[in-house]
Every structure is written in structure tokens, then in C-alpha cells.
């Protein structure tokens, strides 16, 4: 048995489900990593988490209506983003409140839809909606995922500079003529689309892990915005791909040889990345004495 053979179980590269999972995982990570950097800078991780949780209602509603879950995640996400914007998510003071209010109502709806799915349709989709199931994503979803990913990336590229300035200081941005509210709203829409993409990959509840995790890890290494976005994208792709690989391998693992959830591996790997980046970043930053506070030279006597 070769070294690759020990790591990659046979049939990995020939399985169509694996191929779809790898492509979707990469596309989603490439989008959510860079976007997540702004989420962290703007302190809107809670908004991202809420958008993911609200996605539950969309995902479960989609199963009820008999359409693909991604459509549900999208509709719920964009609607929630619009509602949060309306209630004042951009104002620093009202932000958590607006998010919390929308979050509560979204979760209530999800409870209803999940209940109806199991009672009326006899199908318990709770696991799939909440925690994802990348191997079972229908191949026909692929074009939509790719188009959305490209769309969000293009939009982010278009607003990157004013968004960075507005996220650093709304005052500075407004003084330079940046339409701060408009840029913030555009970012929120991009965020909701990106969260929907994460939800289809690792589930609505875990979507934040892929959005904020690689970004938070990258901030412990990168000093400049462009590099942080690139590192976050790379870490996201690494976590999803390695997660898919381990999940595939886990079909040979106990207890039942049925495979462990991909989402578990992806989230665990993101955590490992975060801790590793913290170690590397901490070691790199530690020896940094200011030049004018060097200890005084020892005097004789």
C-alpha cells in the first residue's frame, strides 16, 4: 500500500459525489473567506450567525415546498438581511438588538417548518438543514452555486476599497464621499448570499464556522487586508477539502462504517487552523520591543 493509498481510500477520485463536494466546497470557501474578513473587521459575526440560523427556516421551507434547499437558504437570507437593515443593523447601538429580533422570529418559523416536514411529509430533514450533508447535495445545484459564488466575489471586488474605509471609520469614509449606508447594505446582501452558500455546504447552524473561522485565523497571521483575504480563502479551501477526504475515509471507521458527517470534519479542521495560526502569529509577534524603550545600558559600579 502506498502512502497516498493509506490516506486516500480507494474510489475517492472516481466518486461523482466526492467531485461535486470538492467543487462546491472550494467555491464556497473562496467566497466566504474573503467576505468573512470584512465580517470580522466590522464586528458583524453575530449578524452572520443570525443569517445562518434564519437560513434554517428557508432550508426547511424549501423541503416543504419541494424545491432545492439552496433556494430556501437564499430567500430566507436575503429577506432577513433586508429586515435587519430596515431595523437598523448598521447603527452600532441598535445592531445586536435588530439582529436578535429578526433571529428570534426566523427560528420560530424554522421550528414550524421542521415540524410540518416530519408530520405532513414524514421526512425528518432536521439533520440535513441544520448540519448539512455535502455528499448528498444534488449535482444540479452546482451551476447555481458557481454563479452565486462568482457574483459575490465580483461584488466584493467592486466595493472592496470603500468597504474597507467605511469598516475602518464611517466618518473618514463619509468625509471622502463614500455612500456609507449604501456600501453597508451591499455588503449585507453579499453576506447573506455567502451564508446561504455556507449553509448548503456545512448546514445552516454551522455556516458561521466557514464564514468567520478561516477569516479569524487569517487575521492572526496577515497584516494587510489583501493578504488576509487570500489566506482566509486558502484556509477555507484546505478545511473543506481535507474535511471531504476525512469524511470519505471515515466510511471504514467505527461504530457502523457508515461515515461521519463532513460538517464535523470541516468545523474541527477550521478550529485546528485557528489555533495553529494563533501559535504561529503569537510567536512571530512576541519579540517586538519598541526601539526607544530598550533597557538602559548597565552602568559600571
Amino acid at each position: 500500500m502506498t502512502a497516498t493509498g493509506a490516506l486516500v481510500a480507494s474510489g475517492f477520485f472516481s466518486s461523482p459525489a466526492v467531485g461535486t463536494a470538492l467543487v462546491i466546497g472550494a467555491a464556497v470557501a473562496l467566497v466566504s473567506g474573503p467576505l468573512g474578513v470584512f465580517t470580522v473587521i466590522r464586528g458583524q459575526s453575530f449578524a452572520g450567525e443570525a443569517l445562518g440560523d434564519i437560513g434554517m427556516s428557508g432550508g426547511s421551507g424549501a423541503y416543504l415546498a419541494g424545491v432545492g434547499p439552496l433556494w430556501g437558504f437564499l430567500v430566507a437570507g436575503v429577506a432577513a438581511a433586508a429586515l435587519m437593515e430596515l431595523l437598523g443593523v448598521q447603527r452600532r447601538r441598535g445592531r445586536d438588538l435588530a439582529t436578535g429580533v429578526v433571529l428570534g422570529s426566523g427560528l420560530g418559523l424554522a421550528a414550524l417548518f421542521l415540524y410540518l416536514n416530519s408530520t405532513e411529509h414524514g421526512a425528518d430533514v432536521t439533520m440535513t438543514v441544520l448540519f448539512g450533508s455535502l455528499f448528498t447535495v444534488d449535482r444540479s445545484t452546482l451551476p447555481l452555486v458557481l454563479v452565486l459564488a462568482l457574483l459575490v466575489l465580483l461584488a466584493l471586488g467592486a466595493i472592496a476599497r470603500p468597504l474597507l474605509l467605511a469598516s475602518t471609520s464611517p466618518e473618514l469614509a463619509a468625509a471622502r464621499g463614500v455612500p456609507v449606508a449604501l456600501v453597508g447594505a451591499a455588503y449585507l446582501v453579499a453576506l447573506s448570499l455567502s451564508v446561504a452558500l455556507c449553509a448548503i455546504t456545512i448546514g445552516s447552524i454551522l455556516s458561521t464556522a466557514l464564514l468567520v473561522g478561516p477569516a479569524a485565523a487569517s487575521l492572526r497571521l496577515a497584516r494587510r487586508p489583501g493578504r488576509a483575504m487570500a489566506v482566509a480563502a486558502a484556509l477555507g479551501v484546505a478545511a473543506t477539502w481535507l474535511g471531504v477526504l476525512l469524511a470519505y475515509d471515515s466510511y471504514d471507521w467505527p461504530p457502523h462504517h457508515r461515515g461521519w458527517p463532513v460538517s464535523f470534519f470541516v468545523v474541527a479542521l477550521v478550529l485546528v487552523e485557528y489555533m495553529l495560526c494563533g501559535l504561529i502569529g503569537g510567536r512571530r509577534r512576541a519579540p517586538h520591543p519598541a526601539p526607544d524603550t530598550a533597557p538602559p545600558a548597565a552602568l559600571g559600579g
Partner: protein, 274 residues
């Protein structure tokens, strides 16, 4: 006579129905250094925001703001602005030089491609404000004085003719205050920049001010320090007795407070206004 770089005419601003500024009028000539003095809540930030054309929610205003004799446009390359301290987490991946570079083209769509000319411009401006040593440090890790230098470089990169600074000395230790004031005065002289700088203390600005705009109770007096910082003038502005004391080369503006004249008969004392 030259056209003033800034002319404010009969400017009144109300926030949520409460009048904050009442019929403020003054001009700033090219290259002139003006101190905007007033205690907290006197309306200094409101005035600077009105000049910039930034509107808060529920604010109404009347009067005119002319830049170079013309009404201001939405984005004003004529004005450089340094807001009160930017609060950033040390984690935010933004080096001093990145924030300065945003002063050049932060309003443009897309992202900046690496350019040698851009890099040189940023480096030159950072060194002009004495920020070469921490150009690659994250902005959130810098001290208050260092951040002020970075924000100053950010504002200067757009080649403005008028620099507005909102309380740049707040929260700085005494040594940094002197350094930042001297730096602003030097850069302003080099670039022939007019400056309007707000502060609640007069003394740090004394050596460099050409004129003073003293704000109290929504009204303002404008003139040279000798014309404005006088007991009779400030008494008229405040509407109650105010004394100007000269102590060890420092100016203290003081008012008697309490003493049984007001409704709350607090013990008599002296409040230092600026």
C-alpha cells in the same frame, strides 16, 4: 484680497429639534491656523460635520458653507479631515500605510493594484508626519499619538487646502500634545494649508493659532486671540461673568459657579472653562 478658503455664513444647526449652533459666521483665509475652542457639548463636532456636509439623523440646518467661494460638492478634495480617534481592534489587518493609502483612493470602487508610485507617495507622507518607523504596524496596535500621525497623513494625501481636525489632542499625554501640535503647524506651513482644529483647551494651541473661534451656548466669537480671549468678550458670549487669568504664561478662562445665585445653591467655586 484673496477668496477665503472657507466661508461660513449664518449657519444654524438643530439636532432632534434642539438648536446646537445659532447663526455662526466666520471665514478662514488660505494658510490660516484657526483654533476651535469650546467645552464638551459646545457644538464643535457638529460644526466640523456641517462644514464637511455630513448630516446626522434628525438634523436640520440653515445658512451657507462656501469653499473657495463655491458651495461644497458631495466629495470635497479641498478638505482633509481627521476625525476623533479611530477605534480599531489590534486584530484588524490594516497597517499604518494601508490606512494612509486609503486617503489617496479609498473612495474609488475596486481594489488597489500594487503601484510603485502609490507606494512612494504613501511612504513620503508617512515620513513627513514622522510615521516611517511604524508604517508596517497594525493601526490598532499604535498609541494615540501615533494614530493621530497616521490619520494626518491619510488626510494630507488628498492634497487638501483646508484641514479639519476634531479633538486631535484628546487623550494624549502632555509630551504627545506638544509634538502633535508642532507637527500640524509645520505640515500646514509647508503645504500652505488652512487649519481648523477643535480642542477644549486653549493653551496647547497658543503658540500656533492665528485666529480663534470660541464656541459657547451655540454661539461663536471669532478673531485674533487678543480680540477674543478677554473677560468682557467671553462674558458676552457665555452670558454670565467670565474671567480670563494669566497664570505662569498660561491662560485660564474661569467662571464662578454656584454660590447661591442659581436654583441649586451649590457651594461657591470656580470652574475652568478652557
Amino acid at each position: 484680497m484673496s477668496v477665503p478658503v472657507l466661508a461660513v455664513e449664518q449657519l444654524s444647526v438643530s439636532l432632534a429639534g434642539r438648536p446646537v449652533l445659532r447663526e455662526i459666521s466666520f471665514t478662514i483665509e488660505p494658510g490660516e491656523f484657526t483654533g476651535l475652542i469650546g467645552s464638551n457639548g459646545a457644538g464643535k463636532t457638529t460644526l466640523l460635520r456641517a462644514i464637511l456636509g455630513l448630516r446626522s439623523r434628525a438634523s436640520t440646518s440653515s445658512g451657507q458653507v462656501l469653499l473657495d467661494g463655491r458651495p461644497r460638492a458631495r466629495r470635497n478634495p479641498l478638505i482633509g479631515y481627521v476625525p476623533q480617534r479611530v477605534t480599531l481592534d489590534p486584530d484588524v489587518p490594516l497597517r499604518a500605510r494601508d490606512l494612509v493609502a486609503l486617503g489617496l483612493d479609498g473612495h474609488r470602487p475596486g481594489f488597489a493594484l500594487p503601484s510603485r508610485r502609490r507606494h512612494a507617495q504613501v511612504q513620503e507622507m508617512l515620513e513627513a508626519v514622522g510615521g516611517g518607523a511604524f508604517a508596517d504596524a497594525r493601526v490598532g496596535e499604535l498609541s494615540g499619538g501615533e494614530q493621530q500621525r497616521v490619520l494626518l497623513a491619510h488626510a494630507l494625501l488628498g492634497r487638501p487646502r483646508l484641514l479639519l481636525l476634531d479633538e486631535p489632542l484628546a487623550g494624549l499625554d502632555l509630551r504627545s500634545v506638544g509634538e502633535v501640535v508642532a507637527l500640524i503647524a509645520r505640515v500646514a506651513a509647508e503645504h500652505r494649508l488652512a487649519v481648523l482644529i477643535s480642542a477644549h483647551e486653549i493653551n496647547p494651541l497658543m503658540p500656533v493659532m492665528d485666529r480663534i473661534l470660541y464656541l459657547a451656548g451655540g454661539r461663536a466669537v471669532h478673531g485674533t486671540v487678543e480680540e477674543v480671549v478677554r473677560g468682557d468678550v467671553l462674558t458676552g458670549l457665555y452670558g454670565h461673568p467670565v474671567d480670563v487669568l494669566h497664570v505662569h504664561g498660561r491662560v485660564l478662562v474661569v467662571a464662578e459657579v454656584g454660590g447661591g445665585t442659581g436654583p441649586a445653591a451649590a457651594p461657591a467655586g470656580v470652574e475652568v472653562l478652557s
